[in-house]
Symmetry: C2
Subunit: 250 residues, 2 copies
């Protein structure tokens, strides 16, 4: 199959690719060279058929009887996800959450350097958080342009979330991650995702009282408890016996 001629990748698959990628990264660090769909499924907490279907949307990058080459799969997946380049991020609203996100190393590590902090509160402007100085939200267009930022994070109170989203879009930002507990919309030309912490707890509350959920969201296979599935060896330089501590179960 040539490099082109690819189907449109389903949304559900797109949401899982980053999880696979993180696992591949760990595998590569553990010197694994290949991995089977069965093993990857185990580590990702999903079904093996799903892994194969998901990966097939990227192309036919596996080898029958062998599995997938870890490095090559990582490369293709990163490319598909657009993670060859860094995507600088602007955080709007430097309260508790905004400041924590600014200090959170996990973003830069994974290719999303926090490049600017912005707030509407003039008493905060000029203050430093980590290595960055907070700037005023009115400067958003300049700030975004300077950095070539494409992603904005909203960590403001709910009441101003929509206004902030509008200003982000006006400043040329096309991807928005909203942490404010409010419904926010962006034009079709931009993308939006949201994380509502209290909503997550409320969902848990529902299942707290009744039976547990059907299958625990996007992860967790009940049979075969993954448990110490950490360090996944696979055949490669690494110690060859320790993959998943229970891969070929059941």
């Amino acid at each position: 199959m040539p490099d082109s001629a690819r189907r449109r990748i389903p949304e559900a698959t797109v949401a899982r690719l980053p999880v696979y990628l993180r696992i591949l990264l760990e595998l590569a660090g553990a010197k694994a060279t290949t991995i089977s769909s069965e093993q990857l499924a185990e580590l990702a907490g999903v079904n093996a058929a799903k892994v194969r279907k998901d990966l097939s949307y990227l192309g036919s990058y596996g080898t029958r009887g062998v599995g997938y080459d870890v490095e090559y799969l990582m490369f293709q997946m990163s490319r598909e996800l657009g993670l060859n380049q860094d995507w600088p991020v602007v955080i709007v609203g430097i309260g508790n959450l905004g400041a924590a996100l600014a200090n959170y190393g996990g973003f830069s590590e994974r290719g999303f350097p926090v490049a600017a902090l912005v707030d509407a509160d003039k008493s905060k402007v000029g203050t430093r958080v980590g290595a960055l100085t907070i700037r005023h939200i009115d400067e958003l267009p300049q700030v975004a342009a300077e950095l070539g930022a494409a992603i904005g994070i909203i960590a403001t109170p709910a009441v101003v979330a929509q206004e902030v989203a509008d200003r982000l879009v006006d400043a040329g930002i096309t991807s928005v991650l909203n942490f404010a507990p409010a419904i926010v919309t962006v034009p079709p030309s931009a993308s939006l995702r949201k994380v509502d912490l209290a909503v997550e707890l409320q969902i848990l509350s529902f299942y707290q009282q009744r039976r547990p959920p059907p299958a625990a969201e996007s992860g967790v296979q009940q049979r075969r408890r993954a448990r110490n599935a950490e360090r996944a060896g696979a055949k490669g330089g690494g110690s060859p016996g320790d993959l998943a501590t229970g891969v070929g179960t059941s």
Copy 2:
């Protein structure tokens, strides 16, 4: 339809109920007495048919030709979600994120008081964060028992996330919200949800380069740009023009 005889509520619906509930809360604060599925859909950023289907799983609480009674719907929904009572929460891992979550008022406000903070780092134990003193993770069973905590939040580094989950479950906690970028599993008797911040950004990165996503996750209707969809009419006592923009909130 009597009070019993209810279908099993689909997972996708459960995930949206808290969003509706938040909107109803704002509406009630703005003195709205009734709301139609059309208006609620607008405010929630979803399709009206979906709202009606979702609400129908709770029972037949609407009035044809009129809409839903805001207070009554709130009551039924809270009951269904198990939000009549508070659910004390234990946060494990008081780093940047854990501390921010501890200080985040949004949890207590919505019925999830942060009741205890726990960390493995002895130099942190005894330290205060807000009104709480950090305790050692070895005390988890006692802490959980003291508070009757049912929900645990994992805000630790990825490597210890599974171990922490195990200890939470052993301590009698049956709902876990995982912020660590690692796959964690819990026994079928417990529930699990996860929030992976970097994964969210990576998903956005995918849509950044290509066309925008099919319909922007669980919100946003492209047609009828919600925008100033604020003020959801609704016949009620309150000044009928001021609903959103700063609903009852503080």
